[in-house]
């Protein structure tokens, strides 16, 4: 069984079928990219995996278990973290605070010990900071440590969102258009980071990306999605030279 498996997943919004009986298999340790025109249903797939949407049909399995019964806030606990296409950070908080929220899933303290701020809460806070600091070093976020999100550039915010996802220590990382809005240099950095996340941290990555340079550089396999259906799965080269895929892009 593959690491992440979508089986005949369907999602309808009123009359629109955003995802149409889609099946996909993602293997452990690979970088898998979804490409396809706008409105193809790529983000909807992410939202279904994150349980933000409840699909109309089909089932999703992750690491051998069905995700169907889980709630959205359980997903990070089974080992799936994500970023959003239109950055969803906590805007009125600092970078540090944003990343620290990611450590909440590991907390063992209860409300009352937090109100008293017991020794163990304090020790846990120090440990959380060590975790977060490691990720900040990895993504060069140290200069922004105490900066508020709303004062940061778009590119930096994207990286902060990636960092926040990594703080969860996921097994699977979903990246929704990680390079959109990044400058050329930022995109180069991103490519290295994505490869390191796979190689050093051992995290499987499923990403939606329009930047084909980035896809060609990092992706092991690619699926082309058109109108909620998988048109072709294969290596980046194979998919880009498939006539059906080319037609869909020109037609769109």
């Amino acid at each position: 069984m593959s690491f992440l498996e979508l089986k005949n997943v369907t999602m309808k919004f009123g009359g629109v079928t955003a995802v149409d009986k889609m099946s996909l298999n993602i293997n452990k340790g690979e970088i898998f990219a979804l490409v396809g025109p706008n409105g193809a249903g790529k983000s909807t797939v992410f939202n279904i995996i994150s349980r933000l949407y409840e699909q109309n049909g089909g089932e999703i399995f992750f690491d051998g278990r069905s995700l169907n019964k889980l709630k959205a806030f359980h997903i990070s606990r089974v080992g799936i973290a994500r970023t959003f296409q239109n950055i969803e950070l906590f805007g009125n908080a600092t970078v540090l605070q944003n990343l620290l929220v990611g450590t909440n899933t590991r907390k063992t303290s209860n409300m009352f010990s937090e109100i008293v701020f017991t020794r163990s809460v304090r020790d846990a806070e120090v440990a959380n900071r060590i975790d977060v600091e490691e990720i900040m070093d990895f993504l060069n976020l140290q200069p922004y440590r105490q900066k508020y999100i709303m004062g940061l550039s778009y590119g930096t915010r994207k990286i902060v969102e990636l960092a926040r996802a990594l703080v969860l220590k996921p097994k699977l990382l979903l990246l929704d258009e990680p390079a959109s809005g990044l400058s050329a240099e930022e995109t180069v950095d991103l490519a290295f980071w994505i490869e390191d996340i796979k190689k050093i941290m051992g995290i499987t990555i499923l990403m939606v990306e329009h930047n084909l340079n980035l896809v060609n550089k990092v992706a092991d396999r690619v699926a082309a999605i058109v109108d909620g259906k998988v048109v072709r799965v294969g290596s980046p080269k194979e998919v880009q030279s498939d006539p059906k895929v080319i037609e869909a892009y020109i037609g769109a």
Binding site: S50, F73, I75, A93, Q97, I115, F117, R164
Partner: protein, 366 residues
């Protein structure tokens, strides 16, 4: 400009970021504690009242400023606190120190009862619902006459703690110290919440529910917890308010009070404990200023402000409008800017705070 070099994570986590900061607040507390030796009973009473408003403001701030949920009915939670503490003291003969937390918990319970079914309501819908609940609470108070005294109201007994007596008219200085003690305690609790995982989950729920979910925050639960804590603190404020005014009825906790509480924290500055205090100071000082100017100045000109019954509320609203237009971060926001100006002088840039936007944003377009 003061630069703190950090060699461990402790300054990040501590209540005070450095010793100067710590000294400032300890001085403030000391200064507040010796006020009864300088002020006469009238002004001391007014300051005790400001502390009560600060507690109520902190209660509402947890909800609105930190978890991003609006309540237009927080007077109801003050009412539950005020009536509970007094009924528990009179009818059950409980000592004040036991009745007080129970009153807080009862208020908290009402908050939870509201929060659970409304977990999906946001912004204006939640505001309207809390408003409706507060009107309902007023009715229940009238109906529950045997307990609450109905329309006639209820008298607060004196507070006795280890046979020390506290009474507004007999010994306002003791009552003031008691309130100051609990205010300090609640500030510390509030600070602890903000620096622990709970406080971060509040900010997460406030700023983006969907990413809070994706990051493992149980949004519905956090929203309920925010209600519970908010209503607990507000209930405590109500309990002290009841003992402060000594006699009150259902009308004391009407919708106007709820609105004033909300205006208070918006003017003070949403999202900070300071904001609750600044707002309370405005609420407390404004009537004094109005009456002073009436006595000293306007009467001499032959203008009689008694003819304008809604003057305080009107002025208050005017200040609010000015703040929303020119300083959405409230008095605390303005204070931060002034402080930064002096700390960085002469390097301050005019646009330094330009990117910041206000956030009475409780509803997101998904």
């Amino acid at each position: 400009m003061r630069i703190t070099f950090k060699t461990s994570y402790d300054p990040d986590i501590n209540l005070f970021k450095d010793s100067i900061h710590k000294f400032q607040y300890i001085f403030l507390l000391f200064f507040s504690a010796i006020l009864p030796f300088f002020l006469d009973d009238y002004y001391l009473g007014e300051i005790a009242l400001i502390l009560i408003w600060s507690i109520a403001g902190m209660g509402l701030m947890v909800l609105v400023g930190h978890s991003g949920q609006v309540s237009l009915g927080h007077a109801a939670f003050m009412a539950v606190g005020a009536y509970s503490v007094i009924i528990l003291q009179i009818k059950l003969g409980l000592p004040f120190l036991i009745a007080l937390p129970i009153a807080g918990f009862l208020s908290s319970l009402l908050g939870i009862l509201i929060a659970i079914p409304t977990a999906k309501l946001h912004g204006i819908y939640l505001a309207i619902l809390t408003l409706a609940v507060s009107i309902l609470v007023e009715d229940i108070i009238v109906l529950a006459e045997p307990l609450t005294g109905g329309v006639n109201g209820i008298f607060a007994p004196d507070i006795e703690i280890f046979s020390v007596n506290f009474n507004r008219y007999g010994n306002i200085d003791r009552l003031y110290w008691l309130i100051l003690f609990f205010t300090t305690l609640l500030v510390i609790i509030y600070k602890n919440i903000l620096r622990s995982p709970l406080g971060r989950s509040f900010a997460a729920v406030r700023d983006s529910e969907i990413s809070a979910l994706a990051i493992g925050v149980n949004v519905a639960r956090v929203r309920t917890v925010a209600f519970a804590i908010s209503c607990f603190i507000t209930g405590i404020a109500g309990a002290f308010f009841g003992h402060f005014v000594t006699v009150f009825n259902y009308e004391t906790f009407n919708v106007v009070l709820s609105i004033n509480l909300l205006l208070m924290i918006v003017i003070g500055g949403l999202g900070s404990i300071h904001g609750a205090f600044f707002g309370a100071i405005i609420v407390g000082v404004l009537p004094i200023l109005i009456s002073l100017s009436r006595d000293r100045f306007l009467d001499g000109l032959g203008i009689n402000l008694m003819n304008f019954p809604g003057l305080e509320t009107g002025l208050f609203s005017l200040i609010l409008i000015l703040f929303i237009l020119f300083e959405p971060f409230g008095i605390y926001g303005r204070w931060l800017k002034i402080r930064t100006y002096f700390q960085l002088f002469p390097l301050y840039r005019k646009d330094m705070f330009k990117r910041q936007k206000s956030y009475l944003k409780t509803e997101r377009v998904r």
